[in-house]
């Protein structure tokens, strides 16, 4: 089951590169369904039998490529497969007007999925690096799809930032290999100490990954890239791609070398998260362009992920568990909600033909479903109940209280109000009666796909127990 999750996207990627005449669009959905089934089956297997390892080509761990599936990774795999399939349905309709871009979209899309699955599954530092690089290139390619001046500029900025990040990460990997003679995360975790090389390595890797995750103040590349890309691309980037580098960061800090991390360093990461919430929300509040607003919202929302470090390092086991559960829920809820938001905004922009927030006047009557999806996803982003975002916020708040760190409490609570401040700008305009523009009709599948993801973000508020039950199967991560 495990290798299938790499093979499916890679085969489709190769097919779409090598045989461009093939109706790759037509087979995309069956392929994605296959991938979704495979990830669900792996989740069920993990739920029943616990974590499992797989050595690719029967080469055992030190030499070959070792794949590892636990409760966390299968959750991420399923999330990826689900969001990918919805975005693909959206893209099939949305890209009809982009004949040229479409040819490159699908290969990049499949490579993106392959690298994401590879990152979730891989158990050693070098494979993670390979996955990150492949992810970067496919993501940058997708940003550059439209090949106009703005998108190329954004793509170049993204590329430089990502390569710089990779450099830091790779240097850290080299240092660790020199120190411990292995790249397997499980093995290093057993023997890791808190000596100087390990700390330098971790520092380098952390800065690299913060860059790739676009954590304030290293976020400058994200808004133009996410805000300027085509709607389905923005959705994939904000929902999944930035989460991959966060995932690696979390593995490094919480699993690989917990002894080498000081609580003070964790506080620094928390402070960056708080800065991201404040700065991202402020910028989102100031944007005249709705896609940029959503992109800055991503900058702000990524800040919450950083709180897992101060809340779970150097605190009680109970607080750490709450923090971890809250962070995972936030990751899932944000993935659903932000993908839904980018897709619904894409539909709105398509219908209006403009992307200024002022141009949204009159949409509540004319494009109601897209606005409704936007609203549902905003509920989750604001952390209002009932939604996955609310449950995540609740767990983080409890964790902040039980670890006695009231200062994070303020940011978590206040962040929701800041989010409300910028999303209600959009609603407020949408209720104005007279439209400024003529509205073009949009395909119903666009609405359905955005609504599906938005509904998932809300429903997550009722079934939070499912991913969290799977999570408890992660060995080593819960302290």
């Amino acid at each position: 089951m495990i290798p299938l999750l790499l093979i499916i996207p890679l085969v489709f990627a190769l097919l779409s590169v090598l045989l461009p005449r093939l109706p790759i669009k037509a087979i995309a959905i069956p392929g994605l369904v296959l991938q979704l089934i495979a990830s669900i089956q792996l989740s069920v297997h993990t739920y029943k039998h616990g974590a499992s390892d797989y050595a690719l080509g029967s080469w055992e761990a030190p030499l070959g490529i070792a794949l590892h599936a636990n409760g966390f990774t299968v959750t991420l795999l399923t999330l990826t497969a689900f969001i990918a399939i919805v975005c693909a349905v959206y893209a099939l309709i949305y890209l009809k007007r982009y004949e040229h871009e479409q040819r490159y979209f699908w290969p990049l899309f499949w490579f993106l999925l392959a690298s994401l699955n590879g990152i979730w599954l891989s158990g050693d530092l070098f494979n993670l690096y390979v996955g990150l690089e492949l992810l970067t290139f496919s993501a940058v390619g997708m940003v550059a799809l439209t090949a106009n001046k703005a998108s190329l500029q954004a793509a170049i900025r993204y590329l430089f930032a990502a390569l710089l990040g990779s450099l830091g990460y790779l240097a850290g990997v080299a240092l660790l290999y020199g120190q411990y003679g292995t790249l397997s995360i499980q093995e290093i975790a057993l023997i890791s100490t808190s000596d100087a090389p390990t700390q330098v390595a971790l520092a380098l890797m952390t800065v690299g990954l913060l860059m790739k995750t676009a954590i304030f103040p290293l976020h400058y590349w994200l808004p133009p890239a996410h805000g300027g890309a085509l709607a389905p691309v923005s959705a994939l980037l904000s929902a999944l791609v930035v989460k991959a580098s966060f995932y690696i960061l979390a593995v490094l800090w919480l699993q690989l070398a917990p002894d080498a991390i000081s609580p003070a360093a964790a506080q620094v990461l928390g402070a960056l998260g708080a800065g991201a919430i404040l700065w991202g929300s402020w910028c989102a509040f100031r944007q005249p362009d709705i896609k940029m607003l959503v992109a800055y919202s991503t900058v702000a929302q990524l800040g919450y992920l950083m709180f897992v470090f101060p809340l779970s390092i150097g605190t009680s086991a109970a607080a750490a568990e709450l923090a971890w559960q809250g962070t995972v829920l936030h990751l899932l809820a944000h993935a659903f909600a932000k993908a839904a938001m980018f897709l619904s905004v894409g539909t709105l922009v398509l219908a209006i033909g403009h992307q200024g927030i002022k141009d949204l006047a009159g949409v509540s009557h004319r494009v109601p479903l897209a606005l409704f999806s936007f609203g549902l996803s905003a509920v989750s982003l604001m952390g209002l109940p009932p939604s996955g975002g609310f449950n995540a916020k609740w767990l983080l708040l409890q964790s902040a209280l039980s670890s006695g760190q009231w200062w994070w409490f303020i940011f978590i609570l206040g962040g929701g109000l800041l989010t409300a401040a910028y999303v209600f700008r959009v609603f407020s305009v949408s209720f104005i009666e007279e439209a400024r523009h003529k509205f073009a009709p949009t395909h119903w599948l666009l609405d359905v796909s955005a609504l599906t993801l938005a509904a998932a973000a809300i429903l997550l508020g009722f079934v939070s127990q499912w991913p969290l039950t799977l999570m408890e199967l992660v060995p080593g991560v819960q302290s």
Binding site: L384, W394, L395
Partner: protein, 499 residues
Amino acid sequence: MNAWLPVAVLGTSLIASLIIFLVPDAKQRLRSTLNITAALVKIGLVAWMVFGIYQQELFETRFTLVPGIDFVLRADSLSMLFAGLSSVLWLFTTIYAIGYLEGSPHRSRFFGFFSLCVASTMGISLAGNLFTFLIFFEMLTLSTYPLVVHRGTQASLTAGRTYLRYTLGGGAMLLLGVVLLYSYAGPQVGEFAETGTLRAATSLDPRTLAAIFVVLIIGVGVKAAFVPFHGWLPVAMVAPAPVSALLHAVAVVKAGAFGIIRIVYNVYGIEFSAQIGVLLPLGILAAITIIWGSMQALRQMELKKRLAYSTVSQVSYIALGVALFGPIGSIGGLVHLLHQGIMKVTLFFAAGNYAETLGIHRIDELDGVGKRMPGTSLAFTIGALGMIGLPPTAGFISKWYLGIGALEAGMAWALGVLVLSSALNAAYFLPILYRLWFKPVRGAWPDEQIPAARFETDPWLLFPTLATMAFTIAAGLLASHPWSPLTWATLISVREYLP
């Protein structure tokens, strides 16, 4: 079945809301049928639960939401008080709104959020613990915002912003309080139980609990329009009349008042609240709000604004009743939850009728309207007399019990507040009644839209008004009947003060 009934009650308006969103604006009849059917089904289901509770049946839905925290819908006697009020008034407000909005744009959006708003109210009444209460409390904020800004004018957008600032801020305070309470005392104290859950936990520091109490009360107090958190309410008057009726009588302010009741009776427990000394400050806050609201109402010349400040004042009667330590005062507070609802909805319906039929918005335009619109004016008169507290209206029953309760609790100053407030009520309502019935007409109406035909106005507007007027009298005249609001409130109060 008993596990599903609370979900079904919630579901009727939730599903109705989702379907209504999809109905095209032009299909008036389909939408109205849906609306009224859902409202009737809900009343039926609530009645079923009320009978069940009389026979000591248990209606509960429960599942785990996040580790250690359950989502609980449970029907107890207190929740039936609020659910009964909302389901009955929803029916009448819906009928009224159908008439009121006839021909105006965006009706599907309006009625969709209208139903969603009632679904939230139902959730608030059925919530079995603080966490679930919080969920629906926030949902109410979100579903009422589109109703407040419904007209899409600059004024309504500004009002919407003010409304959000207050209510989202209040919601954040409530969240803060609930998290603090759950973390400090454990999630089990959030479960609503008769006589409260905190009494048993003697190991906790009363001063911390009192501080958390303050945070919680501020959280719900914003919606209950306590001074100084009442600023949103008069501003939100720009919304259409049925929305004002809904906000004032059933949904938003009542959700706040109901939250206070839940926190005092079912979380802290009335005796424990008295022990840690939070009742007196609550009572004083309520008293200030009562007087302040009435004084402001006196200064308003716009009919809806005057009614709005009157709401600020009247809702705090409920909190005052809660703060009076003693069963009689509690009865007064609880029964006022219902009585204020039916009286205020009558007044707002009447005000809406004046505006829709004759274009009257200001009080000095009301001269001699009684002859032109006798039914509406009669309803307004009964509602106003109820607010003043004259027998045989429902308002008299509330004030009677509150007054006796104040004396019984040894808080004679509260009686003084009641008397002063009644005098102020009379001062701002009686001049209106005088204008309605005794002053001559001042020439043409400002903007006559519905000519007098068989009825003085559209029957969709008139009959709900008369119906709620009838309730106002019935609740007063038949107060000792076994199915009256008073009997039900007495039942709750007696259980609350059981040893």
